[in-house]
């Protein structure tokens, strides 16, 4: 097959980091929903449609700053800025 070699520069110009926090939250949330499936089926993992945006934001910050015990979420919440966690909470609670 013909190998179409990439002009790496093309991509640098394509990636525009100034994207709304909204879209970021949506794309991060796709990964959260792998585990947090709140279709109503019972699962040991808590659903995310029970908390208000504010409650969820606080919970995520508490995970991030080790104020809330958790097996996993402390490790995940540290991957995002406070602003991202706020946008994520807002996005997830509004679904």
């Amino acid at each position: 097959m013909r190998l179409v070699f990439f002009v790496a520069m093309l991509f640098v110009s394509l990636f525009v980091p100034v994207i709304g926090a909204e879209l970021d939250a949506a794309s991060i949330a796709l990964n959260c929903l792998t585990c947090h499936n709140d279709t109503g089926k019972t699962s040991a993992i808590p659903p995310l449609n029970k908390l208000s945006a504010l409650q969820m934001q606080q919970t995520l910050l508490d995970f991030k700053y080790d104020k809330k015990p958790a097996t996993l979420m402390r490790r995940l919440a540290k991957g995002y800025s406070d602003a991202e966690l706020a946008a994520l909470a807002e996005y997830l609670s509004r679904r």
Partner: protein, 432 residues
């Protein structure tokens, strides 16, 4: 996708800032309503990509090409050695992808690609055109790596690194091993599918042996100097399987400086570079791996045998219309796991949708978690949050991720439960 409102997501995508560049400069313009995306391989990566594409932009036609009518998950397959599951419980089909999301399924395999015409040719003879191709074909084995270990030999000495008959064969050999017998497991150097997989397997086998053949031994011969979640596994083995004592059920040896070169089938021995011979009643040989043969033969892999991609979009470095995800692709430092394949598929699907709709590419976000059982009541995990740095390379976010935080019976039990639940959620999120 359960819980994610498509309407809302599309509103979000449509509400993008106007100051952004077109995502399709110089590329042929394609109305997304006529776009056709072909997905090759119905594993975790391919199924998630097909589902996510349809969920987020139903104007795009998606055809999934997968030869098997039913898919048996490798995740969970180690539990079979402890008698905790069976192949039925690990089997999924493609009904939901078709019925719920309108993915078109073709039960065939891709024989070759024509990158110029943008077509795939199926083994059955059919030719299918694509606007963009997403490949998630998984792995193949380097059969030449240990001389004498080939496809035929795997019928006697199973790898069980693709779940199915190989898993059953190995379980049968484990269970019928003589009293006090020795099982040898060989583990390849990085990168390979599921870094903690061999050690979870050893744990599950030890769990079974402890009850049925307590004088037996599992000897792990590892091409690496250290391994994933090593401290957690070794602590668990010490606690449950006498690790470190003379009658330990598990022994781990690094052969990083003395690699295994040859299999002597007749004597059931593995021979190393220095001429050491390791004899086992059962040999579980996990060979080194490469991207699946369709990727190799299509010129999409590099000299290392894996497919290099532009992480931003998953596009192959060799063909801009082909995106590669999952085990076949090189996304290091993200490990080759089903969870990662699911995450890569989502980022890739978003990029493909944006490219087809001439929208700018968004910043990708990847997540990985790998849970393993040491006993049915003792689970451990490793996690990572990944994103692009300024140089467009994938990095694990510093301070995030890592292995299980606390130890203690309570955490171990919780994580054992989460191991099972996360498996179920991951399968449902990918296939249902």
């Amino acid at each position: 996708m359960p819980g994610l409102s498509r309407r809302h997501f599309l509103q979000t995508v449509a509400g993008l800032g106007a100051a952004t560049l077109s995502g399709c400069q110089g590329l042929p313009r394609l109305a997304s309503s006529k776009a056709h995306v072909v997905v090759v391989g119905g594993g975790f990566g391919g199924a998630t990509a097909a589902k996510t594409m349809r969920l987020l932009d139903p104007t795009i036609q998606v055809t999934l090409i997968e030869p098997k009518a039913r898919y048996i998950t490798c995740p969970g397959s180690n539990w079979l050695f402890a008698g905790l599951t069976d192949l039925d419980k690990l089997t999924v089909d493609y009904q939901a992808l078709q019925a719920r999301y309108g993915v078109k399924l073709l039960a065939d395999s891709v024989a070759d690609l024509d990158a110029v015409k943008r077509q795939v040719r199926l083994t059955g003879g059919q030719t299918i055109g694509y606007d963009r191709l997403i490949m998630s074909p998984g792995i193949d084995f380097k059969w030449d790596a240990i001389a004498g270990y080939d496809k035929a030999a795997a019928q006697q000495f199973p790898h069980a690194w693709q779940a199915g008959p190989q898993t059953l064969l190995l379980a049968k050999q484990l269970q019928s091993m003589r009293d006090g017998g020795v099982l040898i497991m060989t583990v390849p150097a990085d990168p390979y599918r599921c870094p903690p997989g061999p050690y979870e397997r050893a744990s599950m086998m030890a769990y079974w042996l402890k009850q049925h053949n307590p004088r037996a031994k599992i000897i792990i011969l590892d091409a690496k100097r250290s391994f994933s979640k090593q401290a957690l596994f070794e602590a668990g083995w010490t606690k449950h399987y006498g690790y470190g004592s003379s009658n330990s059920l598990i022994e781990w040896h690094s052969l990083a400086d003395n690699p295994l070169l040859e299999l002597d089938k007749k004597n059931q021995q593995l021979i190393s570079e220095f001429g050491d011979r390791f004899q086992g009643d059962v040999l579980n040989i996990i060979p080194p791996q490469t991207a699946a043969s369709i990727a190799l033969q299509s010129g999409l892999a590099d000299a290392g045998g894996w497919c290099p991609v532009q992480p931003l979009s998953g596009q192959s470095l060799f063909d801009e219309y082909i995106h590669i995800i999952g085990d076949a692709a090189h996304y290091a430092p993200i490990p080759k796991s089903a969870f990662a394949a699911n995450s890569e598929a989502k980022a890739c699907a978003l990029a493909v949708i944006n490219l087809l709709n001439q929208k700018p590419l968004a910043e990708p976000h990847w997540l990985n978690t790998c849970y393993s059982l040491i006993t049915p009541q003792h689970g451990v995990s490793v996690a990572g949050v990944y994103r692009l740095d300024a140089a467009q390379t994938i990095v694990a976010v510093k301070g995030a991720g890592g292995v299980s935080i606390a130890s203690g019976a309570e955490t171990e039990l919780l994580e054992a439960d989460y191991t099972r639940v996360v498996y179920q959620q991951l399968v449902a999120n990918s296939f249902a």
